[in-house]
Each structure stands twice: as C-alpha cells, then as structure tokens.
C-alpha cells in the first residue's frame, strides 16, 4: 500500500516532458540574449582597454590628443611628447558629417513631403523603391563612384587634386539621404490626419498646412532622422577613405586632402605593431569613434523623450 502511494506521488511530482522542454527552450533563448549583451560589453571593454593605454605610462595627455594637430605617433616633439594630435581627424570627421547632413536634410525633407503630402501615388510607386535601392547599394560602390566620377569632377571645376572634404561630403550625402528620408517619412506619416484637416478647414493652403502644422508636429521625428544620418556618416569608413585624400593634416579648405577618424583607422591599423604607441594611438581614435556613436545614440533618445512628452 505504502509503496503504491509513493509511486503515485512520484508520478505526480515528476516534471512532464513538455515542462522540461519549456525550461530548456526558455534557457536557450535567454542564452542567445546573454551572448549579445556580453558581446556589446566586450566591444566596449576591449576597445577602451586598448584605447586608454595611450594615456597611461606615456607623456600623452587627453588634452594633447584632442587639441594638437601633428599626427605622427612614431616620433616625438621637442619636449619628448609623442606626436599624437588627433585634431585633424576630428575636424575631418565632423566636417564631412555636418556638411553632408546639411546638404542631405533639405533633400530628405523635400522628398518626404513629396511622398506623404503632395503625391503619395508617385511617391509610393517610384520614390519609395528608389530610396530602398539607395539603402542597399554597398558603401564600396559609393566609394568607387566617388573616386571615378566625383573626384575628377571636383578636380576639373575647382582645381587641386579633387580629393578632400568636399568629395567626402558628396559621397556621404548620397549615402545618408535614404536613411534620413525614410525616417522623415515615418515622422510625417505619424502626424494625425485631423491636424491637416483642421488647418485646411481654416483656409490654409497646402503649403501653409505643411509648413506651419505638419512639419512642426513632426520636428522631433525629423531631428531623430537627421541625427541617425549623421551617426551613419560619422562611422562610414571605406567610401570616405577612398575619396578624402588621407593626409593627416588640418584641412585648409574643402578641396585639400584631409582625413577622418575612420580613414586613418582603416589605412593605419594594418601597418603598425600591436602594443606599440603608434598602434595604441589608433585604438584611441577607435575609442573616440565608439564614444561618438554612443553620443549620437543618447541624442536620439533624448529627442525621442522630449518629443514624446508633448
């Protein structure tokens, strides 16, 4: 009798096959998430560790790194401090980023208004696929076109070598245009229809409605799109590296050869010895790049929060 009761008790308490499967499945999927989070931390950890070692045990200070203009990490200046002035690259990166965003913004907003307000039919049929295709073109192809069309054109029109910030700006303009456009489109679509109806009912023309009502209501979304585009431009490496001229000098004008954080990284990291100061200085640039991408992320979050409160 006792024995039989025990059997029943054991059978009732035993986990079913389903329940075991459920636990295992949940654990596996949790593990996948954990791997992704660990990878994110590892990226920050490794790059920060490498990047910060420039500043420990050497005479290089953070201020030197950010403000000096001489970039030749293998050599030292008169007072024995290695020449790791990253200012030319910082100026180059911000230069191409801001200029291309400045150029792309009016086009992106114009195209988005065309797609949502003026002609949704043509917008959906032609402009939308065009934008999708532009996103899909690999960045090396943009770089190749920049090298074989944009650079000779600039050389022809303005003189000089043609390589420089202007060429980088044009290439990045086309690269970030689709990103900014599609985010602006979703921002404009999110504006409630009755806003437009109310404005039109007051006797406003279509342009007045767009300019005074729709665009203002969609401002946070549009700003997010622009910052996203800037983040993409800031981090783009190969297309820029191919057209910017790769001279670690403070750019004198828009058509003199310059360099960006990414271009110095791609051309330099293979030519330096791991652990040397030359190499560590490059990792400091990578760390700067990482922090900037984090900053762009924070800005979009901040805009999103401010926009949501209204």
């Amino acid at each position: 009798m006792q024995n039989q009761n025990d059997d029943i008790r054991a059978a009732l308490l035993r986990k079913s096959r389903s329940s075991k499967l459920e636990r295992r499945g949940k654990f596996i999927s949790w593990l996948c998430i954990a791997i992704i989070v660990v990878v994110v931390f590892a990226i920050f950890g490794f790059v920060a560790y490498r990047g910060l070692s420039t500043f420990f045990g050497t005479k290089v200070t953070l201020w030197n790194f950010l403000s000096k203009t001489a970039w030749a990490p293998g050599t030292t200046d008169a007072s024995g401090v290695p020449k790791v002035g990253a200012l030319p690259m910082i100026v180059g990166s911000f230069g191409v980023t801001l200029l291309s965003a400045l150029l792309a913004t009016p086009f992106a907003i114009g195209a988005a208004i065309f797609m949502t307000e003026i002609s949704p039919r043509w917008g959906g049929k032609i402009l939308q696929p065009v934008i999708d295709l532009l996103v899909g073109i690999p960045s090396v192809v943009y770089g190749f076109i920049g090298l074989s069309v944009v650079v000779p054109l600039i050389r022809h029109v303005f003189g000089g070598t043609g390589f420089g910030i202007l060429a980088g700006t044009f290439v990045l303009f086309v690269m970030i245009l689709p990103t900014v456009t599609s985010m602006t489109v979703s921002a404009l679509r999110a504006v409630p229809r009755n806003y437009r109806q109310a404005s039109l009912a007051l006797g406003a023309t279509r342009w007045q409605t767009i300019y005074k009502v729709v665009l203002r209501a969609a401002t946070p979304g549009i700003l997010t799109g622009i910052v996203f585009g800037m983040a993409r431009a800031f981090g783009e490496a190969l297309a820029v590296q191919m057209v910017i001229g790769n001279a670690a000098l403070l750019p004198q004008n828009l058509i003199s050869p310059a360099s960006t954080l990414t271009s110095v990284l791609t051309s330099g990291i293979g030519n330096t010895v791991m652990g040397s100061l030359e190499n560590n200085a490059l990792w400091s640039l990578a760390l700067l790049l990482l922090l900037m991408s984090l900053a762009f992320n924070l800005i979009t979050r901040w805009i999103g929060k401010r926009g949501a409160m209204k």
Binding site: C32, I36, I126, V140, I145, A237, L238, I269, A286
Partner: protein
Amino acid sequence: MTAKRADKIATIILDVIAGVIVLILASLLGYILVRGLPEVSWHFLTSPSKAFSSGGGIGIQLFNSFYLLLLSMLISLPLAMGAGIYLAEYSKPSFATDFVRTAIEILSSLPSVVVGLFGFLVFVLQFQIGFSILSGALTLTVFNLPLLTRNIEDALRQVDFAQREAGLALGLSRWETVLRIVIPEALPGIISGVVLSAGRVFGEAAALIYTAGQSAPALNFADWNPASISSPLSPMRPAETLAVHIWKINSEGIQPDASAVSAGASAVLILAVLLFNFAARFLGNKLHKKITAG
C-alpha cells in the same frame, strides 16, 4: 507674395527635389551598369585576380563572398532566432529588458569599422584564428545580429495573439507553441528579414578587411576537404571578398586595369544586392500566400 503663389512655388520645388533624387539613383545605377557590364564575362567571373597585370577576374572573391555569407548566416541565424524569441515571447517589461534592448540598439548603431577592429582584436589576435573566413564570419555575425534579431522579433510580434492562446489551450507548452505555431506563421517575415540582411552582409567590407583578410590565395576547386588549406571549403584560409577587393584595388591596387575590374566587380555586387532585395520581396509574398492559403 500671396499664399497661393507660395503654395505653387513650394510644390514645384518639392517636385524638383523628388526628380533630382530619382535622377541620382538612375545615374548611379546607369553609370555602374554601363561601365561595368561590358567587363563582365564568364572569364571575368571565374578566373582568379591578378595583382600586377591586367586581365584578372573575380572568381575567387565571388566564391569567398558567398561562402562567407553562408557561414555567417549559419552562426547568426540560430542566435538571432533565440534572441528574437526571448524578446518577443518571454521578456516582461522590466529594467533588465530595457537594458537588453538598449544594448542591441547600441550594437546596431556601431560603425562597422569598429566592429571589424573588435573582430581583429578578439578573433584574429586573442583567439589566434588569424586572418580567415572563420574570423570574418564571426565578425559579420556581430555586425548582423542586432538587425536580424529586431527583424525576427518584429515578425514574431506580428502573429495574432489568439494563435498563441489556441496553442496553449491545446496543452502545448509556450516553447512548443512558439516552435510549432508562431514561427511557421511568422516565417515569411523572418525570411524576408534574413534575405535583406544577407544583402547587407554581402556588400560589407569595412568589418572584413582586418578579419577575413585582404588576400585571396589560389584555391584548388578539386579539393573539397575542409581541413586542407587550399580547399575552397577551408574556414581557416584568408579570404578577400568581392567588396573588399573593390576597395583594395581602388586604394592600393597597381593593376593597369584597376578601374575596369572595379567597375565590373561593382556591377556584379550591385546586381547581387538587387537580387537579394527582389528575392526578399518575392519569397515573402509567395510564402505568405502559400501558408495563409490566400
């Protein structure tokens, strides 16, 4: 200026902007195809590249691109699937979930060159895998995971909640419900997400130059033993992909026909990416019709 005239002028300006954008794409595609397609021949697609003389092809690079794509998808798809399932089915709104989402968002916004450098540091140097297909595939996995995870999560969330209730009411566990009911229903969305990310991976170069390497050693296409270093299947050999090849010959190449080769290679790359885009749309629609009997 009256309001009506301003309206007319604004409309014209907007039309012009839309036209300019279409023109930009048309001239980009036109330029690449007109310059590139005449270079593309069977010989160009199959013969190995030449470093110093003209007449080189892109055969090995093309094979490397596809093989690398396949390997990185084999690694990233199960991971992204698991992560997507967790986020869509198991996660509850909490601080930890928010944190995970933020981490994924940050990962997706990292510049690909930073991901490439991380791969170089960890896979190539730390794990001592060297410049190889395996290092490249692992790096591309890092690059691909966040977007693929988000695609899969979105696809799973599109599935009607009643489907899950039905599964649970039949006595299935949640895991079984996900596997047998939710995933088949979400399959079209998942597949178009996978194909789209394949296009992105196929054209990626910045993450690969310091992980999969910039050289394409000769391959012996008669040797299919993955352990042999000259075999096309060997994951331990350095492998320059098509996108890296275009960058390489344009920035430091000394072939006399560098621009012709890169035009041809760009045309092939663009056609492949376009193919991925159309395939994503076509497969998604087709599968959806088949599964929903619509």
